[in-house]
Symmetry: C2
DNA sequence: CTTCGGAACTAGACCGTACAGTACTCGTTG
DNA sequence: CAACGAGTACTGTACGGTCTAGTTCCGAAG
């Protein structure tokens, strides 16, 4: 189905995503969205009953986009010699993915509205965050079974992996308006994080 | 000085802090603040030229409250036998301090407005976040000099310490409206984090 | 202690603007 | 032609900030 109605619907979703990410929930007006979608306000209301519904829709839609990160985290080769290298590469890609301005803005948007829309924050945490952690946990279980890692508690190891890598750069990004990290920074975070991780879990 | 004017000023600051933390910047009206402070709107504007100034003031005022956490992190006894115990205790207190609902709400408030008030986010990051990290770095340098730890890069170790402990619980709290952590959860996070930390840095 | 004057405060009306959501008319597209 | 959509005017409300008219506090002078 690619009817006119479908196309409008899509245009509205995209426009809404852009504007909400850019200006946040409160400062985004339905007129802004209609204008950017090149659609009349009436049409917006034909497709989405009100502003809250539209917001919920676009936030939940973004949980799909996490699949790339999931794949990333699932595909670590079991290669004894290259383990550190492979994990560092994973770490590097993980960092790149999670410090994308769009991703940071999305995090900000959801966190900012976590008290107003608690079910949204919770849903995003479960379907985004925890899915990645679960996949990472499975990966560590596998690597442990293959004797490459020693993780008594693979879920805890997955938490630690993420924390070692992400705490500093993600927080920096969250508290600053514009991006803060050079490629070299990310390289250093990845290498340092993996060194500590392997010291603890190999 | 405890003049009437001073008292009103203080009442306004307190009321503003409460309401901003509760409802966020946009959804807080100056009438709300005036009402809670039991003060007329005119008086609010006599003390603070506009809403933005008032907001900036209350956010910057909170950076002072971090001193407790700084002290916490500075005072780790140099005791070879009890090192793990001492660090776990520190970790536990660190976790408790940073998962306080008020602290989480403040984080949310600042992050939510980091794009609208970039200088506020940056200031809070530097004067809050980085000051704690610097103190922790100094502590690890000291413990390394005393042969209790082995941190080539004490600043990186401080980053890792925080990340191991805080990534999961703080994120959980940020994405959910109300508190999520039992005492037992915090105990587990502290013990697990310190075990990994010592494996990497002892 | 009383009185007086000015500064600070109160209560609420008021202005301008922004915005969610609706209504209506006219054009366009399938 | 029939449904959909554009454009736009409109309604009701909320809010930042100002204004006015009267009230309370407080220190100093008599």
């Amino acid at each position: 189905m690619d009817s006119r109605s479908e196309r409008k619907h899509q245009a509205i979703l995209e426009a809404a995503t852009t504007v909400f990410l850019d200006k946040g929930y409160e400062r985004t007006s339905m007129d802004d969205i209609a204008k950017l979608a090149a659609v009349s306000k009436q049409t917006v209301y034909k497709h989405f009953s009100d502003k809250e519904k539209l917001f919920a829709e676009i936030v939940l839609a973004t949980t799909d986009r996490i699949d790339g990160t999931i794949d990333l985290v699932a595909d670590v080769p079991a290669d004894a010699d290259g383990l550190e290298e492979n994990l560092t590469k994973l770490a590097r890609q993980f960092l790149t993915a999670l410090t994308q301005p769009q991703v940071i803005q999305l995090r900000r948007l959801i966190i900012a509205n976590a008290d107003r829309f608690p079910q949204l924050g919770a849903a995003w945490y479960e379907q985004g965050f925890e899915r990645v952690l679960a996949t990472l946990t499975a990966t560590f279980e596998r690597l442990t079974a293959q004797g490459l890692l020693k993780t008594d508690d693979p879920m805890l190891a997955a938490h630690h992996f993420s924390g070692l890598l992400l705490w500093i750069p993600v927080n920096r990004a969250m508290f600053h308006g514009s991006p803060q990290h050079s490629e070299a920074d990310l390289d250093r975070y990845a290498a340092g994080g993996i060194r500590a991780f392997l010291a603890a879990y190999r």
